[in-house]
Amino acid sequence: MSELLSVSALGVVFSLFLGLLRILRGPGAADRMLATQLIGTAGVGTLLLLSLLPGQQALMDVALILALLAAVAAAAFTGRQRRSRND
């Protein structure tokens, strides 16, 4: 089982690596944000796979935090501030 887990984790990290190529290539900021989204999801997948290796249960909590905060960056990227003086 641990072999399957580590090989799968490698596969997911490779997909993260492909996302990295898109983030470098761009061209627009929106494309880069999409790639960051993929990197986040791949990070969650990697952590889940590694969390089943012995003694690593805590990684599931890390994956949970990553998953819960996945939308914050996109919202900060697209959010528009109020223009009026009194907010």
């Binding site: 790639a35 993929l38 939308a71 996109a74």
Partner: protein
């Protein structure tokens, strides 16, 4: 039997991850790339979570896995929407 099924699900999940990222890399414009990204988020992580949930024995772990999947699903849907809308607005204003 369950082990085999779980392994198959995990491997299928990894397959969808790779498909999604290749799509993100190869597809020509932002909107079609958005479509590729959802393969990794929904199906890749979904199958992975299903496989790992089959493998795990504790109910708490299964629930946590489910919560993680739902969180990623909702977050990816929301952020795909936000990014697409943002890109659309940029197009119309400029």
């Amino acid at each position: 039997m369950i082990d085999v099924l779980s392994a198959l699900l995990v491997l299928a999940g990894v397959g969808f991850y790779l498909t999604g990222s290749i799509g993100l890399l190869r597809l020509p414009d932002l909107y079609s790339r958005l479509h590729a990204l959802t393969k990794a988020d929904n199906l890749g992580l979904g199958l992975l979570v299903a496989g790992l949930a089959l493998h795990s024995q504790e109910l708490l772990t299964v629930l946590k896995l489910l919560l993680i999947w739902l969180a990623v699903l909702a977050a990816s849907a929301a952020s795909a929407h936000l990014i697409a809308r943002h890109a659309r607005r940029q197009e119309t204003t400029s």
